[in-house]
Amino acid sequence: MSEETKNTQDKPKFNRGSALTIFKSDRHEDLMALVFSLLIALGVYFFVD
């Protein structure tokens, strides 16, 4: 691994969320996943024969 990569990983890259998610917490991410899936379900229900 290059030195540059190491240095980048040592510094905090994001001031919101964590390294694994853009959301504040797992619960927020879960809720967004629920919202997205409900939107997809609504879309499928109304627009697919």
Partner: protein, 518 residues
């Protein structure tokens, strides 16, 4: 902090996608499409290329030329670059790289029985996508303009898991549910217990032991993160645990499909094994899709087991809370009900909600089974031909179970499947892998003739495929060699012993006791 980068990359990716869509749409890629045998993907190649290419062009122009200020708009719209970056890789791998490897592999001819090298090694779009993600993050670095969006990959996986709920039927969930509760309950509680016992013997701190037991026992990274505050784990202990899980999980993800192919496991068997033996949710999905890239049966079984395991998480968290409080004098008072409520994963409720909605019949006819409904009023050309009937007659003596014998006899007599019950029984016969490949192919053909796909459920399948492809390529981009190296020392030894025990014992249990269909 401003997240959006002034960079032409997103715009250029968008132009490339629209170009590919246009070339495919107007038949200018027909030679390549025929060579790669991807004609069945033409619909998604044009639709998805146009859709995401257009989004990328519009947002890409804003990224490139717009003025960006710190705020929600900057934060959320900057993620589009990473999302399109991952999707472009997933598209390239699914449409071109994986089919090309399949063509090369097939040109070498079957090397083990009737299987080709790429099938045995599980070199499909899922595995290749994850591998490319790993290569990018470790050797080339994820581009800065894409970094924020890569953090959405877990959201894609969770959304995919919730939507999987639409594909399950009540009967299926009841049957697999009882099997998975017994198996998963035994192995999860056993793993947690062994990790705690081994950690005490090797003098690991209680916080390290607690967080490692949750990670090794329940569902990997999520369980580690959920249990960490309960046992007051330090960052380095969380990193050690995640490193151990990733090292073990990635190994299993590649190894399990190879072993499954060598043992010729049925879809239910492999799904049950992967859902029990592999630690991390994402890698369970990766292994299941790697084992059966052209269908979703294995993934569904594996996810049922995985979700049963996730459902046990609150119980484990409460157990660890009690265990930790008993051992640490300065541990804060813990409200057990509050802990269980706070740690319950909402996406599991989402999965159950989707399942409940689907069970009402709003997405497909009420008698649907895996999104397909039964109707055996089929045209004459779809009836089994005399050669197929002769093949099945030759195989009849191999069938021992009375219900299967009767269902097979009715199929032979009528040249079509006569009832939903017969169809389920005959699918069990296929999954049991008792008959020859040609006989199984005939049974699958008979099954397809009487099962009609509900279009809405088919659409859900498409969404699920792409959400998982997106999530798993992004997952690859989060697997760094440095995080895997952190698995060194005691956690790796304990994790390795428990992980091996769980994988081997669950394989033995599956091979001995799981033979039936979904």
């Amino acid at each position: 902090m401003v997240y959006t980068q002034k960079h032409p990359a997103l715009f250029l990716i968008g132009v490339s996608m629209v170009t590919i869509g246009t070339l495919a749409h107007f038949g200018l890629m027909d030679g390549l499409i025929n060579y790669l045998a991807i004609k069945k993907m033409m619909g998604e190649i044009t639709t998805l290329s146009y859709l995401f290419g257009s989004i990328a062009i519009v947002v890409g122009l804003w990224h490139w030329f717009g003025k960006h200020k710190e705020g929600h708009l900057d934060y959320y719209l900057s993620t589009i670059a990473g999302v399109i970056f991952i999707l472009a890789i997933a598209m390239g791998v699914r449409w071109f790289l994986a089919p090309f490897i399949a063509v090369l592999s097939k040109s070498m001819g079957p090397i083990m029985g009737a299987k080709y090298l790429h099938e045995i090694l599980g070199l499909n779009y899922i595995v290749l996508g994850i591998l490319i993600g790993i290569l990018i993050v470790n050797f080339f670095k994820v581009p800065t303009w894409a970094e924020n969006g890569v953090r959405l990959s877990r959201l894609g996986l969770k959304t995919g898991v919730i939507l999987l709920g639409t594909l399950y039927s009540l009967a299926e969930l009841q049957q697999l549910g009882s099997l998975s509760i017994v198996m998963v309950g035994f192995f999860v509680l056993g793993s947690v217990g062994i990790v705690l016992w081994m950690s005490a013997r090797r003098n690991l701190p209680n916080s390290m032991a607690g967080v490692l037991s949750a990670g090794m026992g329940v569902c990997g990274v999520s369980a580690t993160i959920a249990a960490a505050p309960v046992v007051q784990a330090k960052s380095v202990e969380i990193a050690y645990t995640i490193g151990t899980i990733l090292l073990w999980g990635v190994g299993c993800m590649f190894l399990f499909p190879i072993i499954g192919n060598l043992l010729n496991m049925g879809y239910v068997q492999f799904g049950a094994w992967a859902g029990t033996g592999i630690l991390n949710s994402a890698q369970v999905a990766g292994a299941a899709l790697a084992y059966q890239p052209d269908g979703i049966e294995t993934l569904k079984v594996a996810e049922i087991f995985n979700i049963t395991r996730v459902l046990i998480l609150p119980i484990i968290v409460v157990w660890l809370a009690i265990w930790y409080v008993e051992r640490e004098e300065n541990a804060p008072g813990v409200n057990l009900f509050r802990v269980a409520f706070q740690k319950f994963p909402i996406f599991v409720i989402g999965f159950l909600l989707m399942f409940a909605l689907s069970s009402t019949g709003i997405f497909s006819p009420a008698n649907h089974y895996k999104g397909k409904y039964f109707d055996n009023t089929i045209p004459a050309e779809k009836l089994l031909n005399p050669e197929a009937i002769a093949t099945l007659k030759n195989e009849q003596p191999k069938v021992q179970e009375k219900a299967r014998q009767a269902a097979l006899a009715r199929l032979i007599e009528n040249r079509k499947v006569m009832s939903i019950e017969d169809d389920d029984i005959l699918r069990g016969l296929v999954n049991a892998n008792r008959l020859t490949k040609s006989a199984n192919t005939i049974l699958k053909k008979a099954h397809k003739a009487v099962r009609h796909t509900a279009h809405k459920i088919q659409k859900f399948r498409d969404f699920i495929t792409w959400l998982f492809a997106f999530g798993l390529v992004g997952l690859g981009m989060q697997i760094t060699f440095s995080s895997i190296k952190q698995a060194g020392g005691q956690p790796l030894i304990i994790g390795g012993v428990v992980g091996t025990l769980k994988a081997v014992l669950s394989l033995i249990v599956v091979m001995l006791f799981v033979h039936e269909s979904i």
